[in-house]
Amino acid sequence: MNKDLEDKYLSVIEDNVNVGQSNAVAEFFILIAGIVGIFILLYIFADKIGCFFIDRMSDKTQMRIENAFSFGISPKMFEKTDNTKKLEAIRDKIVPLDKNLQGKSKFPIYEISEKQINAFVTPNGTIFFTQGLLKEVKDEKALTFVLAHELGHYAHRDHLKSISREIIVGFITSIFTSQNNNNINGTIYGISDLNGLTYSRKQELEADKFANKVVYKLYGNNDGAIAFFQMLEKKEKFPEFLQYFSTHPSTQQRLKLIQNGR
């Protein structure tokens, strides 16, 4: 074999045209950024559509939807304790203050055994308090704030908005990933798992504002709420920038809001 041909073969070995020269990591980040962008747009779109229709919905329709979602919470499962009786007394004070809360759900209150400090409202108006929260917070004003926050979610119809958002997003993502049908089932399960429903941070702030107003109306000050958030702030270990990954605004931000606003 002559020398030229040998050089040619060598150069073919060294210089490979069959493999793309692009950087796989850069490609990965561009693709992820694209998908995240699409999802953000999708969420905004779903949110806008959901809010548009739900804000214009009549109370009758709201009750009908809520009854459809009363998913097997039998009151017998949870016993009434002293704590829940105390909370119910507070509830009876809050409900007459806002007309969005009247004539709808009866807002039963239950206690669940969990160490985490949390409280949540289900779509049919049932409110749950964790034992962790009830152990830490004894002050009536702070409890009023927490309860009013959850009732604020209900009054603003945030539960229906987040259900509609989940349904729209779930529907569109199931089209994206419909190669195997399991995804659709998974989406339906995901939607029906309503305990995992989250509200947007804006909704949380609105609920805080609502609760703040209620506390002012009842007691004339919001010291209890401020004390509650200061207690939370001490317990938190996350740095503030992590709030972008969480559903709630950072405690500092919420504290600032209720200190300034009334």
Binding site: M1, E6, Y9, L10, I13, E14, N16, N18, V19, G20, S22, A24, V25, E27, F28, L31, I32, G34, I35, F176, N180, F245
Partner: protein, 149 residues
């Protein structure tokens, strides 16, 4: 949240291991290709082979190779599936598979002067329609090795 962290760790590890393995494989291929640059010569075209020299041996030589993409490569490719475009992460796998298969065939025909009528084919090993199919590249190269006396 935990799922995402787990996924990122998995992607990072598989990217690191995958690129180390690929780099070493390419070095290995390059070394072997340079060693085999003179003999045997491969002929891809001819259906007929005429020669005046006496032939000592004619035999079938084959080289096979199955290469799989790592988790990171498959992940990037599945993302690309959504937007479209060249699956650049799989290009290197196909290239490695083809070169490895041809090299194995030539190594099998060591001492022969020619490999005539060489063909390269890709074959399907696993069922790609089931849910847990492994993305892989299976290549077989075969030809007739001719040795002169």
């Amino acid at each position: 949240m935990e799922d995402i962290i787990f996924l990122l760790i998995l992607l990072g590890i598989t990217y690191a291991t995958g690129s180390i393995i690929e780099k070493r494989h390419y070095e290995n291929i390059r070394k072997r290709e340079i060693a085999l640059i003179k003999k045997p010569i491969i002929n891809f075209g001819a259906k007929k082979w005429n020669t005046n020299r006496k032939i000592k041996k004619i035999e079938l030589v084959t080289g096979e190779c199955v290469i799989s993409g790592d988790y990171f490569k498959n992940f990037v490719a599945s993302l690309k599936n959504l937007f479209g475009g060249r699956l650049t992460t799989f290009e290197s796998i196909l290239d490695r598979g083809r070169r490895e298969a041809i090299l194995r065939m030539r190594e099998k025909a060591r001492g022969a002067n020619f490999i005539i009528n060489t063909r390269i084919e890709s074959i399907m090993i696993n069922d790609t329609y089931t849910k847990d199919s492994v993305p892989q590249c299976a290549i077989i190269a075969y030809g007739t090795a001719v040795t002169y006396e």
